[in-house]
């Protein structure tokens, strides 16, 4: 199947606009992706025709809302090939999913002196919840180092694993550098010492075929807004036997079986972990976004984005003064870089004046910046609607900044 990028672009109304007098070139997809018309229409339709609370009313709208919400859960289940639909817990996104595992699984099953292993490549959302858990429980946080290409050093990772390791938490794809981590292999290694493993899938699901049963991971997390869905919604996948054994994370309505002042019993999964009225339209919108991805097909998406990455990398290597940060052999379509003599923030502001949106800063991964001895990087992240011409616009924009800074 030929990937028709112009047809894809037509699905995303936001792309058709001028920013600072230039056509928008949106290269900040690792921060959040844009939304196709089908997702926007789903949200509008829901509020115009369906809106009601779920799991409660006997009236028609409530039943329709509940059916759509639960259908979205099935869509998520199929998307990552979870064994059971109850293993999908809707939440606000990856950050909340990781906090849920830390505060429920972690506080219940990880004791003082036992160890949690993460990597030096993690987003702050996969570092800080474990630090807090360690403060609460006396558990110990270990960090697997990375090499100069920005890849986790597997031998060092293996050396950190022992009978004391209770949990490994790593990202599938690094948001800061684009490194694709060998998560299936790391899952086997974690299981070999009896540890559970959580995979932070925030960056991966928009471009990677994920089969949680084949991978055999214990937890997998998703942020909807990074795969063309709404903000404020995502899911935690967990193996049913673990979720069943875990205590509730938040409590309130919808997560109970029976409440009395003497004793409260909890609902079975997934409701046990979905206290309060959830982001109903968000979950339904996420379902629509996944349907959209499935129509394009992950293999076609991946092939197209790899073409863009290869072209951008080739252009970057020819650019004087440009240093790529993160050159892993297996990389997603993220180009993190610095330009000699020009701070990333200046570059970001001047690119923006040309309509080019990139991320500048530490990308919520300060330890990664420290490792590469840079205060910040510029990150251009490519998605399904970006074109070769936009890569050219980026490179031309960088040359313009270099001229400004060298023309004194």
């Amino acid at each position: 199947m030929i990937f028709d990028v112009q047809a894809v672009r037509a699905d995303f109304p936001i792309l058709d606009q001028q920013i600072n007098g230039n056509p928008l070139v949106y290269l900040d997809n690792a921060a959040t992706t844009q939304k196709p018309n089908c997702v926007i229409d789903t949200i509008t339709h829901y509020y115009q025709k369906i809106n009601a609370n779920i799991h409660r009313g006997v009236h028609a709208l409530s039943e329709a809302a509940t059916a759509d919400y639960e259908q979205a859960r099935k869509t998520c289940q199929t998307f990552i090939n979870a064994a059971q639909v109850e293993e999908i817990i809707f939440c606000r996104g990856t950050t909340e999913a990781i906090n849920l595992v830390a505060q429920s699984f972690g506080r219940q099953f990880i004791k003082a002196g036992e160890e949690i292993v993460i990597s030096a490549l993690e987003h702050h959302s996969n570092i800080v919840p474990w630090q807090i858990l360690c403060e609460q429980t006396g558990a110990i946080l270990k960090v697997a180092p990375i090499n100069q290409q920005g890849e986790i050093m597997l031998d060092e990772f293996a050396a950190l694993l022992s009978a004391k390791t209770k949990l490994v938490a790593v990202n599938h794809i690094s948001n800061a550098l684009g490194t694709v981590n060998p998560v299936a292999q790391m899952t086997k290694m974690a299981h070999a010492v009896g540890a559970k493993i959580l995979i932070d899938g925030a960056q991966a699901l928009a471009m990677t075929l994920v089969d949680v049963q084949a991978m055999d991971c214990d937890f997998y997390t998703c942020s909807g807004h990074k795969l063309f869905g709404p903000t404020g919604v995502g899911f935690l996948y967990g193996k049913a036997e673990l979720l069943n054994a875990m205590s509730p994370y938040q409590s309130g309505g919808d997560m109970i079986r029976q409440v009395s002042f003497e004793k409260t019993t909890y609902a079975p999964i997934p409701n046990k972990f979905e206290a309060g009225t959830p982001n109903i339209v968000g979950a339904i919108g996420l379902g629509t976004a996944i349907d959209y991805i499935n129509r394009l097909g992950i293999p076609a998406i991946q092939a197209y984005e790899q073409q863009l990455l290869a072209y951008a990398t080739e252009q970057a290597e020819q650019m004087p003064g440009m240093r790529l940060i993160g050159t892993a052999a297996n990389k997603a379509s993220i180009l993190s870089f610095v330009i000699q003599g020009i701070h990333p923030h200046d570059l970001g502001t001047i690119l923006d004046s040309q309509g080019i949106a990139v991320r500048t800063g530490h990308h919520c991964a300060m330890p990664v910046m420290k490792f590469f001895k840079v205060p910040a990087t510029v990150r251009a992240s490519f998605s399904i609607y970006n074109t070769v011409e936009e890569v050219d616009a980026l490179m031309a924009g960088i040359r313009k900044v270099q001229e400004m800074f060298n023309n004194e």
Binding site: G341, M366, E408
Partner: protein
């Protein structure tokens, strides 16, 4: 001159890439470290203040964008021979200029008025302000300042 050219005038690029008064000062009387958590910009500011409360020397080290470095460099030149009171007054006026009234008469600030253009870039105001927050921390005896 468009907004971008106003922000990145040659004086700013010049001070931003070749800062004046850059370096440590071992015999300083005041020192503070500034940090902008949003961008990771860091600045250490050293002052020598004499018995009459006059700032006789200013130096700084750090890592930041052209706006933040140029602001620190221009500030270091501006502060020389100013009293502590004058320095604090200049800080309020500078803050006013970059946040509220870029077009008002800021002749008291001398060369610093070329930073007025940062007002059009809310995300960059903190870059221009870091040096001044650090100055205030140093004068008030605080070890560290942040723009948050």
């Amino acid at each position: 001159m468009n907004e971008l050219q106003e922000l990145y005038q040659q004086v700013i690029i010049d001070h931003g890439t070749k800062p004046r008064n850059s370096g440590e000062m071992l015999d300083c009387s005041h020192k503070a470290d500034g940090f902008n958590p949003l961008c990771g910009d860091e600045l250490s500011l050293y002052l020598k203040v004499d018995a009459n409360d006059v700032i006789t020397a200013v130096k700084f080290t750090g890592e930041g964008c052209a706006i933040s470095t140029a602001s620190a460099s221009l500030m270091s030149q501006f502060l020389k021979d100013k009293t502590v009171t004058q320095a604090k007054e200049a800080m309020s006026e500078f803050t006013d200029m970059v946040t509220k009234s870029p077009d008002a008469n800021h002749e008291n600030l001398g060369k610093l008025i070329i930073l007025a253009g940062v007002n059009k870039y809310p995300s960059r105001v903190k870059c221009a302000s870091l040096a001044w927050h650090t100055l205030l921390a140093a004068l008030e005896g605080n070890a560290a300042a942040t723009t948050e």
